[in-house]
Symmetry: C2
Subunit: 330 residues, 2 copies
DNA sequence: CTGAAAGCGCTTACAG
DNA sequence: CTGAAAGCGCTTACAG
């Protein structure tokens, strides 16, 4: 059966294309009997209006972009689950983009926006370039997720990174750690920097001096965790407490420590961010700062849709609760 | 700066919209000096043609859908990496869709296709309904990945599941296992069924009888692995060798076995499919049948693009090499 | 309540 | 080599 367009359906139903369009878009100004008749034909031929034409005409795509750094990290899976769950009740559709192998995330977004392919975007843990963001007049079509830029009119959803990091560091210190390290994310990540501040604040309060070497930057991968730990160890830096920026990275750290026969949880205590299944399947189970990705995803989507639908809607920053999930590494 | 359209750019450049279009689309029939001039204006205003209008006009969207069951399983990340890598050199763009929370995968695809939003799709490990597929006249715009349907004109890329499973089972038997179980995927999954056949074929050859209870179906999740293992144990089924349909599921199996103090690798040997980082970070490291997701992704994309571009191109089935990666569970 | 007609922003035969 | 004009498939004021 060939694909039909409005014109053909209109002819088949013996009405104008305007009427078909009205019925399809639930315009109330249609006689009930006409509506029924049209619906019959529409269903009979399985007619679906061409989205391209529709979007072109209405200047809305009802498509949102979710940009994640990589699909490799299960933490993003939780966020996407939350987003998918909520988007289901809206008129919008979501497409997922990954930044790996591509040019700058901001460019992808701007291109898609310029060419009218999307109405808005959620940037998940994306290292946003502040300078690029400034050029966008209206930031109502963006929501940042896990990241934020202060002093700018832009909405975001995340945990209180500074506090979470402070609390975790405190736990390490109170359980006896004296030599602490923080395995940070990339330097550009504002969340990671906030966590560094919380870490340092706590060290200051307890009068523990940490030299610059105790913070090591790197991507949130297993390999990077392994390498960072090796680097610390090879440099003969003393350590008995480690704060790690992600589950995945912590997995690499544990790999290294086990290989070198450290007694994890005793000689070395460890706590990390995220709280995905990775922290649970590893032996020993990792004590982790759970970020409720599912909720973060849901809230991000709600926020974005509200901003797109309601021009009065103001920028919001939503802080969701984190929680320390006890494992065997602390 | 307001968004400009061809008409405005044409006026600015002092040429017709046709010429702008020709320059943008690299049509050779443009005087070099005109081209240069137009390009200058185009770049000056950062003009990008509206994709909706372009696609509507050309009846091509140059967008491909990659449908995965869930973003939770890192194995799919590898496939997506492969796809992304290859798509970069083509005119196409890829959007990722997940089936969780949604109606039937086939419907999503058909809808997007009907409404001209995509040109084709790669179904990754999707449980395709054969009956629905039959209704599609031309299956050139589909490539199956990890799954396949036999006796139908449709391309696919996967490992030799029967053989891989046979080999793994053989390894279990040759290392002394006498009571074997297979923790299968969903019943609808043809790959999983092929693996079952390989498993059974091997048991037959070694004259080991396996009753129906030794194959347990369930989704590829940690929870399902844990529950299946518990079920087997609770039923007092004897087992000393387990073949598992995925890394993630094996993680759950190991969780259960450790909890019950089995000596994994000794009392119980285990081998699973996939070969993601999950099999490496778990203690003990899992012996796994590595499926080269990255390559599978690359090949799938190449195949799909070839089929879309070249109407002469015939259906193909590509079998990629698997490899058993030794861990500590066998 | 309904239809004729314009127009969204492109591309592409067609004519020159 | 270039432009005027048609048309992709919709939706939506406008008129009745």
């Amino acid at each position: 059966m060939e694909k039909k367009n409005v014109k053909e359906i209109a002819k088949l139903a013996g009405v104008s294309t305007a009427t078909i369009s009205r019925v399809i878009n639930n315009n109330p100004n249609v006689k009930e009997s006409t509506r029924q008749h049209v619906l019959e034909i529409v269903n009979k031929y399985g007619f679906k209006p061409d989205r391209l034409a529709k979007n072109l005409r209405t200047k809305k795509s009802y498509t949102l972009l979710v940009l994640i750094p990589t699909v490799e990290n299960p933490y993003f899976a939780e966020i996407i689950r939350g987003i998918n769950e909520k988007v289901y009740n809206t008129k919008y559709e979501v497409i997922i983009g990954t930044v790996e192998h591509k040019r700058n995330s901001m460019e992808i977004f701007l291109d898609l926006l310029k060419t009218n392919q999307i109405d808005g975007a959620i940037f998940v843990s994306s290292s946003i370039d502040k300078s690029q963001l400034i050029n966008i007049k209206d930031k109502k079509n963006i929501v940042l997720c896990n990241e934020y830029i202060e002093g700018m009119d832009i909405s975001y959803v995340c945990i209180n990174n500074l506090l979470a990091s402070y609390e975790a560091t405190k736990k390490l210190i109170e359980s006896g750690c004296k030599n602490l390290c923080y395995l940070a994310g990339r330097k550009k990540s504002i969340s990671s920097e906030k966590r560094k501040l919380g870490f340092q604040k706590c060290l200051d309060e307890y009068d523990i001096t940490s030299s610059a070497e105790h913070v090591i930057y790197g991507p949130n991968s297993i390999e990077s965790g392994y390498e960072s730990m090796k680097k610390i160890h090879d440099s003969n830096i003393k350590f008995d407490g480690i704060l790690v920026n992600s589950d995945l990275k912590a997995a690499g750290v544990i790999q290294y420590l086990k290989q070198k026969d450290f007694k994890i949880g005793e000689d070395v205590k460890l706590i990390c961010f995220d709280g995905t299944f990775v922290s649970e399947i590893i032996t020993p189970k990792i004590t982790t700062i759970n970020q409720p990705g599912y909720i973060i995803g849901q809230k991000s989507l709600e926020l974005l849709v509200n901003q797109l639908e309601d021009s009065e809607c103001d920028f919001q920053s939503i802080i969701v609760e984190h929680e320390i999930k006890k494992g065997e590494t602390l």
